[in-house]
Amino acid sequence: MSEFKAKILPAGETCIFVDFGEIIDMKINACVQALKRALTDEPFEGLLELVPTYRSLSIYFDPLRINLDALYERLNKELAGLDDYNSDNNQAANSIEIHVPVFFGGEFGPDLQDVAEHTKLTVEEVIKRYCGSPLYCFMNGFTPGFPYLGGMDSSLETPRLKNPREYIPANSVAIGGAQAGAYSIASPGGWRIIGRVPYELYDPYREPAVAIQAGMYVTFYPVDMNRYQEIEAQAKSGIYKIEYKQREMTSK
């Protein structure tokens, strides 16, 4: 971790962020996971919950039981020990790949045209590059099951909406800055909506409840409206099988 120095940042009276950098990167994510493991293995007095994200670990604590100075000292010590994190980056082994059908554009993808204009690509090229990107799910967050996907083709980067929408339908597939993602439940949000998945990405009564999970490799592929409706009907009657497969580990 030579290029950047991890920062310990206040986040109110019940939380501290340890921030490893302002980019989406497997090595940074590995640092986050390593610190999470260290604090899980040896928790401090007052620790409530650890929330790993792309680039930071959020540490929630009980303000009545915390010794703040001791916590900062502990974190500084852990960070000093993280220098050899490189060898730790082995999470891709034995990982799962998921293939996800998407109907792009139209009423399901109201921002597809804007993304094409912003990126100066054709709509067809946007879809091709979005589906051609080797996406990796760094974390679930925002709402239950929302997958944050890194690895999107950088030519597709489009800023979030200036004023977030108050309603985005569930299963909408989106671009937010350099990230790809999918709204697992209906919610407000500011990402650019380019398509929709025909089944529930989050269903508390299904196993698994969350379709796209942290650590999975993700490939979207386009389907037409006929196929979309076919899958939608199968999913509603409980016979649709989510397309998982074991990822073949090649040289990388």
């Binding site: 986040a11 109110g12 409530l48 915390i66 979030r160 200036k162």
Partner: protein, 355 residues
């Protein structure tokens, strides 16, 4: 005891202190928006602090109590409660029995939401460690939704409580509408231009009508400028986090906030002031002020002391009530008696009679 919902009100949900421990898979914490009010109601009733209650918004429900008896305490905002058509007070233990009906006349400018705490707590299934309703994911509470007409709720095993005990005013949450929301700057205040931080700490905002259990949006004319734009690589969102999206106006993240998000967070409002904010009507003026993380922790400690004072007060109230009730009983029931007494080593058998 059971509660039958005769009329649900605008938004009535089952809430406790929230679903902690699952933010890593993206499960929001939820829970009571005004947790200090919920805890006080539970202390008055001898419940666990975390017992579930009904969070009632704007217009309260109409509730018929049945199958047994118990007690309730209504805390938080004043929705003008009536028990069997008689006005009753907030912050007070009220005994209820089968056939009693609780109604609310609705908001009157003193708070937006109230808690109907019941002896034993509302007993719904625990999902991921909590009874809190999170409507967007349809989990917790009653089938993961807001209450509807004819819903029936059971209550748990009641603890010890004393009818009539009420939370003294100096132990209630401070709902002063003019005090600023105390805010620890960070984690991303350095993503905001220094003038923008000044604007944040000096402007008067108004609460937007599109605020809800997820976030409280601010309206105003002075916009906050970012150093290099409002987007960050997504990270976590604590309760009270103040996001500054591209239009330059703050959004304070509340109980149903998403676990992570990609807008710059200029600061985090203290939990007590998030609770106070949750009671303010849309259109109310709001200001922010700066505190340090350590000052925030001290504020939490003084709140814990206030809760302990209330626990002591409730306990003492129960004891003194027992004594003052016991004395007239012995006097009125015993008109005569007899006893052995020893005075200076000599035994006497004494009889007495009330005159």
């Amino acid at each position: 005891m059971k509660l039958l919902i005769q009329f649900p009100g605008a938004l009535t949900t089952v809430q406790d202190l929230g679903r902690w421990g699952y933010q890593a898979i993206g499960m929001p914490v939820s829970g009571a928006m005004d947790a200090p009010a919920l805890i006080r109601g539970n202390i008055l009733l001898g419940n666990q602090d975390n017992a579930a209650a009904l969070e009632m918004t704007m217009s309260g429900p109409s509730v018929l109590f049945k199958d047994g008896e118990g007690a309730i305490a209504i805390t938080g905002g004043d929705l003008q409660p009536r028990l069997n058509n008689q006005p009753v007070s907030n912050w007070k233990v009220l005994p209820v029995k089968s056939g009693d009906v609780l109604t609310f006349a609705g908001v009157c400018g003193r708070g937006l939401r109230a808690y109907l705490c019941v002896s034993g707590g509302i007993d719904v299934p625990v999902v991921m460690g909590s009874r809190s309703t999170y409507m967007k994911a349809k989990i917790g509470g009653l089938d993961g939704r807001k209450l509807a007409k004819d819903d029936e709720l059971s209550t748990g095993q009641a603890g010890k409580y004393k009818a009539g005990v009420s939370c003294p005013e100096n132990m209630r949450p401070d709902y002063s509408p003019d005090k600023p929301l105390r805010t620890v700057l960070g984690p991303q205040d350095d993503y905001i231009k220094p003038e923008g931080v000044k604007t944040f700490l000096s402007s008067e905002y108004k609460i937007s009508p599109s605020s809800d259990r997820m976030g409280s949006r601010m309206e105003g004319s002075e916009l906050i400028e970012h150093v290099k734009g409002p987007d960050i690589v997504s990270d976590a969102i604590p309760m009270g986090a103040v996001q500054i999206p591209g239009q330059g106006l703050p959004i304070v993240m509340m109980a149903d906030r998403q676990t992570t998000g990609g807008y710059v967070k200029i600061g985090v409002v203290h939990a007590l002031d998030v609770a106070r904010l949750s009671q303010l009507m849309p259109g109310s003026p709001v200001r922010f002020s700066q505190i340090t993380q350590k000052q925030g922790i001290e504020i939490s400690k003084s709140e814990a002391q206030a809760l302990n004072s209330l626990r002591d007060y409730v306990m003492k109230f129960s004891q003194t009530q027992t004594l003052t009730q016991a004395q007239p009983q012995t006097q009125s029931q015993s008109q005569r008696g007899a006893m052995n007494v020893i005075v200076n080593g000599e035994k006497f058998f004494v009889t007495w009679e009330r005159l």
